[in-house]
Symmetry: C2
Amino acid sequence: MNADLGSPRELTGLQRRRALYQPDLPPCLEGTRVRVELGDPTTTIDPKCADIVAQAFPHTFGQKLVHFLESNTMVSDTQVIEEHPPIRVGVLFSGRQSPGGHNVIWGTYDAMKAQNPHNVLLGFVGGTEGLFAKKTLEITDDVLSSYKNQGGFDLLGRTVDQIRTTEQVNAAMSTCCDLSLDGLIIIGGVTSNSDAAQLAETFAKHNCKTKVTGVPVTLSGDLKNQFVETTVGFDTVCKVNSQLISNVCLDAVSAGKYYYFVRLMGGKASHVAFECALQSHPNMVILGEEVALSKLTLMEITNKICEGVEARAAQGKYHGVLLIPEGLIESIPEMYALIQEINNLHSNNIPEDEIPSQLSPWAAALFKFLPPFIRRELVLHQESDNSAQLSQIDTEQLLAHLVEAEMNKRTKEGNYKGRKFSSVCHFFGSQARGSLPSNFDCNYAYVLGHICVQLVATGLNGYMATVTNLKDSTNKWRCAAVPLTAMMSVRRHLRGPGAVPIGRPVIHPSPVDNRRP
Amino acid sequence: MNADLGSPRELTGLQRRRALYQPDLPPCLEGTRVRVELGDPTTTIDPKCADIVAQAFPHTFGQKLVHFLESNTMVSDTQVIEEHPPIRVGVLFSGRQSPGGHNVIWGTYDAMKAQNPHNVLLGFVGGTEGLFAKKTLEITDDVLSSYKNQGGFDLLGRTVDQIRTTEQVNAAMSTCCDLSLDGLIIIGGVTSNSDAAQLAETFAKHNCKTKVTGVPVTLSGDLKNQFVETTVGFDTVCKVNSQLISNVCLDAVSAGKYYYFVRLMGGKASHVAFECALQSHPNMVILGEEVALSKLTLMEITNKICEGVEARAAQGKYHGVLLIPEGLIESIPEMYALIQEINNLHSNNIPEDEIPSQLSPWAAALFKFLPPFIRRELVLHQESDNSAQLSQIDTEQLLAHLVEAEMNKRTKEGNYKGRKFSSVCHFFGSQARGSLPSNFDCNYAYVLGHICVQLVATGLNGYMATVTNLKDSTNKWRCAAVPLTAMMSVRRHLRGPGAVPIGRPVIHPSPVDNRRP
């Protein structure tokens, strides 16, 4: 277990000042009386998958939408929570740390203590591993004091970020029973919320009293659908990255001699790269979704960049900034196929050094074409999940390498007469992910924490806490909760009526919507 | 010429707000009357080199120190500048862009216009290339308005950053004569200020009326001696980097599974890494000066890191943050020798792909030991100066690679039983270098700009504008100027009385002072 977790932090002046910020609450969550309105029963976001999801989640499928309203609002079909017998709730981080995560815990704590001072909030130290091993830290004013409005997930940490195998699910259930938890709050992205749904179903099936709640916290911003507008951390990460990208742009134009290839952490979807491009105005952004839609090859992408370099050279410009989403590599069809082959070989326990010789002739040819440093990164076996693997592939260096080779070739052939192409590569990940959360993320996370408590108090299981109307000021935010199963779908093999569903129902990351209007 | 330079910038909200900041001036520079006090004649910071410097700089060696005092202060041996006939001054950036550089130009402009509205300030577009080619932009209120307190060097840009060859010096002199410049202000680090000294000497020798002034602006902080306390940009870059490193530290402890190897731009000396370590408390910092002093080999450094990894593993910690100065690679004696051999082969026009076969047996063995990506970077020929070469060598990846190999070996041999070592590498360069300057750098640069004007108005040639007592508030800053020759020295081959001087006199970068008290 990570020995640095859970201890009081020594805050810097800036952090101390940040800790003073008091997040806003919308009126519906103020005070201890909250009206819970039950809405329509749900199916799933993809009606074609409803049957499959219903079958996989017999106990938690089809639950009603929930809205939280001010207690003085007169509405029909509502119940007012007035009495608050003491409850016990567990909370854990699962998935990549995201600025604002700590405020979910703070919001949960404040809402619980306001309801009943005897309520107990237990944090699982080391995320999922802490859950399995029953390692807890009771959240108190003292514990929280140095984590309010602070970045990172270091109050509790995170580990394998997975509650999926029978062994893991059983360990989680036994912990929740042993600790007599009324609620379990799982803070994370698409994968962790899919696991939360599975856990809720299992608990319901086994009459375990613990109600499971998911909270949408991921810097990637890919947990997004008709119910969820954005995730905690996305706002901060895009702002911090955009600031750094702007600095790089300024630096690029000052020296006028380098192209900067900046890869941005953000998972498979390109939300972070897209939002950062809108905020910082780089010279080019490559969206994975565009590449996938147009089925661009690695060489086509390379040529597109080279065309940009040539067009700029014609204007006397030999510098520029390109944004590359972390997940781009998997959006290139040929690279995706190669990565799939390598992953299959890993699953069959083929050792890393034998992988190249076991590839299909087609994949072997592509593999051989790639520069050695990328080959090495591709065959590296990852102990953690797939997004960790993505983060380890230096796609920005691969592209810089290919563009340089192509520009040199064009020079040699006399097709390019400008100055030599030079590049500098960057990966913007932890330096933004670990930053202080923005006011928006502080508020959003804190409000979500409050909603979690309402869900547990109402006895609702298998829900995600949600807030809509986020573009407005906090006092106009609409607080709600949506059954996790309502966000699920199943991937299909082909489009059309003969489409065959593959895989199990999960919450999928939403791509950037690049359909032309 | 870089076509993006000199045009009005469209400022963001944050930049607009930053532009409103009005830098402070110490009392001695307020108003249009400044007393100039001449102090003692100077020699050089290294008395052993005085003769050599005197010989190389017959016209500009031994000039007196200059102090600027409030005009109402009664002191002997002073002159008061009262009348201000119109003057023409040129200014250029030379060397790596550094936050605050624009404020030198702003300060110069304000001081010139306060003295006489007919004064003309010309900026050289494209730095040294602009100087040689007489490409100027007249600095006006309009031009300046979107560059006040802003980062980057993009008002004028920079290019080859060198005024050294006879051809370059003659081109500079002919520009200064043709434009009838009273003064030439060169904004840069050790190399550019050494060039400034040479230019001043040449101008004096040829009775060119242009007075040359150097301004200490470099993010590296290595232009530091008994006269110069720090350089413009160092404060900002260390603060921004430290913030990012702190974010990485928080991220590291949250996930608890990676070692972050962070390389920091900052030239040969380790000032940036050292200052950032003091501000951000990483787990380890490797100072090039320590490595050079202890003559550590690459494997000894690797083993030291591995010891740290093992010690932390024993405490259940599998994460950490290491800071690596950009110049570390040259501080490792064996690597320095290899780089020298490669540079010599480059000087003899040996093509890149033939370099490995031309190395001495000893260097060839080391070269072969290095991973392929480092080999490729080492033989890459650099068009620009040596520090550009340094920035292109991924020392952090080299060390991460060697540490991983060593930890795997220890695991195999049964000497290490902890979890697998994993690393993430970062290079923090442009993202900090291009940031908005701190208040300190805004003030410091603005004040230096004012001093430059006093120097030109007083007719002093071959000086550097300096400010001391910088740790105090601006109103206690002491403004002065020091002959550039007084900061020069000559490298010696061996220590002791038989030491043979090598190379020409220049201003050398100051290392971090790691002598034990």
